[in-house]
Symmetry: C2
Subunit: 379 residues, 2 copies
């Protein structure tokens, strides 16, 4: 049964469609996919394992070599997906591709006008790409930096900086494209909800190309490599190139999933650099409880605070979606560890969402207003 | 036979590969592609019809469900390509995707260290994305703007502007990604070859989404729509948002293929706005000679100059590759029409290249140094 009043009988194409593509489309027939593959024997829709669904949905053959599939009641927001045709996992030619799963993968954006993720008629900042040569990876890398509206018109103003890390298999474009980070910040700023800040989005993979650690066994490299990249290169480049306030109280490090693990571990090691931390669906569990590959010792927060000479972050933000139970567990465990170590934290739970971008878009919307303020007064 | 000394026995992966992908790769075995499609019956490599080749190359089945294909002596530069599997035309999971053919299509970057298109250790400008709401298309659109190194450090300097249009089926990202426009400008500026300028790259499609005119029959819309978009929206947004010199002598309009047609026709109509024009492989032929859908009347340049009250551009740049004969013809015809109308022009022919990005990267490299100078003195 279809219960959403905002859906009309006329299906609409999606913001994730390539220009002119009729499918995917969304309407009273649900979320419909159509593929032209006249000689194929079997076509499947591979679902992402998030709130859109898990597993695969077979396409039905139609006339003229077309195949059709539909999801009756699709969850709003951005979802990765793939097409499997005769054993080849590939993309839907009708959709744009996004950096996920370690490659360029199809994505579908099911609209939700109730969420603050749409472009509004407010002043817009700029998303800027800057090349820099890394001394750590000995390669050219691209940083994506969101600057707030008016940045160029106020050459005497300096800004706090939020470093925002992507998840496993994603890259430096993911927060701005799938995450709509710039649009979210534009909207928050127009509502007076956040302090003007810069948002820096770089790759969390610090191996020399073409290697790219993807598995939990590379965990040390994922942490230590990014830590070196941030401390030896990225922060210096950003502080030199942009009008930042180069002070721990004006610098935040946050990330999602793998990036949340990176942000919390690196941030607790270097409270002299990062005063604010964010773990959005952070991939970090106490050893012996859930995921051995991504585990930490029970006393790890205390140990990090001791190693940092007792210096603590100003505040830590934690979040997860209700439909990603492992990450709700991670947030609960982290809350306990932070409280025991005397670290101020707050947490947010995204209703009805799984390990997916709606959780992280909402989490950014919740986290950004708390950053760079006095935790006691909020001002 | 393989004759390129720069190729070693060890194959290399390409800048166009997704992180960690082993294929495509390039070496003494040529340009090799590998696909995993265990249940497929036929897999073909679809060539782009440029200097990489035309038509399709069958993949050979290998063990474990892999398929393999190779091009013995691939032309350097960027090439679009597709994979056809059992009748479905799709992407190669090993390559990044690029906006071409009206969608997200695989691309392969065959390196050529002899060309000035590689990242060098020189000061780098920024590539900036700016949203604006168009009064013409009644939609949000994205402009990509390259700002030169030092733009933020010199708040009193103002800059000339080059508006650069993509080709048919491409979009506002194509000049920066496939075209490497920012990297080319960084290198030219480091060599002291160009005046510091801004480069604005917007979509040349001005229909309200989701419509997107693609065919020659939409020619009027392609010209008139973009003209309105530029004159009513884009130039105003750019002049308000960036430190431009808002003067025809400091404003250029150039494009490739369809975008070259747009630039020349719009620019000759509005010499009060654009002092410099560029047609790179421009899709424009005298009627009765080549392509009826993209034709113009023989006296069109004279007519445009008359309609503009006798005002002429400062200079027009024309170019084509030797292996795209129709476009060499277009340049010859245009040269005659411009000369007859008393318009200063110069032209460049790219050796050995077809209707492809190497032609346009080289053309930008040739054109940019001539812009915004006194045509008589070059200073």
């Amino acid at each position: 049964m279809w219960c959403n009043d905002s859906v009309t009988d006329e299906p609409v194409t999606l913001a994730s469609n390539v220009p002119g593509a009729e499918f995917p489309r969304w309407g009273s027939g649900g979320l419909e996919f159509r593929i032209h593959a006249p000689a194929a024997h079997q076509v499947n829709l591979q679902l992402p394992g998030d709130s859109l669904g898990t597993g695969s949905v077979p396409f039905s053959p139609q006339a003229d070599g077309f195949w059709h599939a539909a999801i009756a009641d699709p969850a709003a927001g951005f979802h990765y997906y793939q097409i499997e045709i005769d054993g080849l996992t590939t993309n839907d030619p009708g959709s744009r591709t996004y950096s996920g799963y370690g490659r360029s993968v199809s994505g579908v954006e099911v609209p939700d006008p109730l969420e603050p993720f749409e472009l509004r008629d407010v002043p817009h900042g700029e998303l800027r790409s800057l090349w820099f040569h890394s001394t750590v990876t000995r390669s050219w890398r691209e940083l994506w930096v969101w600057t707030p509206p008016g940045y160029d018109d106020s050459p005497d103003l300096r800004y706090p900086v939020l470093y925002l890390q992507h998840g496993s298999g994603e890259d430096e474009t993911s927060w701005s494209r799938q995450g709509r980070a710039g649009i979210i910040m534009d909207n928050l700023l127009a509502d007076g909800a956040v302090r003007p800040m810069l948002v820096v989005m770089g790759s969390g993979y610090a191996g020399a190309p073409p290697s790219m650690p993807m598995s939990a066994s590379d965990s040390t490299m994922i942490i230590d490599g990014l830590q070196r990249l941030l401390t030896d290169d990225v922060i210096t480049v950003v502080d030199q190139h942009y009008r930042t306030i180069a002070d721990r109280r004006q610098r935040a490090l946050a990330g999602l999933s793998m990036g949340g693990r990176q942000a919390l571990i690196i941030g607790l090691r270097r409270p002299d650099l990062f005063g604010w931390l964010g773990g959005l669906s952070p991939a970090i569990w106490l050893s012996g409880t859930t995921d051995a590959g991504w585990s930490v010792d029970p006393g790890w927060v205390d140990d990090a605070v001791s190693a940092a000479g007792g210096v603590r972050p100003q505040q830590v933000f934690l979040s997860a979606g209700t439909r990603e139970e492992r990450f709700v567990t991670a947030v609960e465990q982290l809350s306990g560890s932070l409280a025991a170590a005397g670290i101020d934290y707050n947490s947010y739970v995204s209703p009805g969402t799984a390990h997916e971008w709606t959780s992280w878009r909402r989490s950014l919307t919740e986290m950004a207003p708390r950053l760079f303020r006095d935790p006691r007064t909020g001002s």
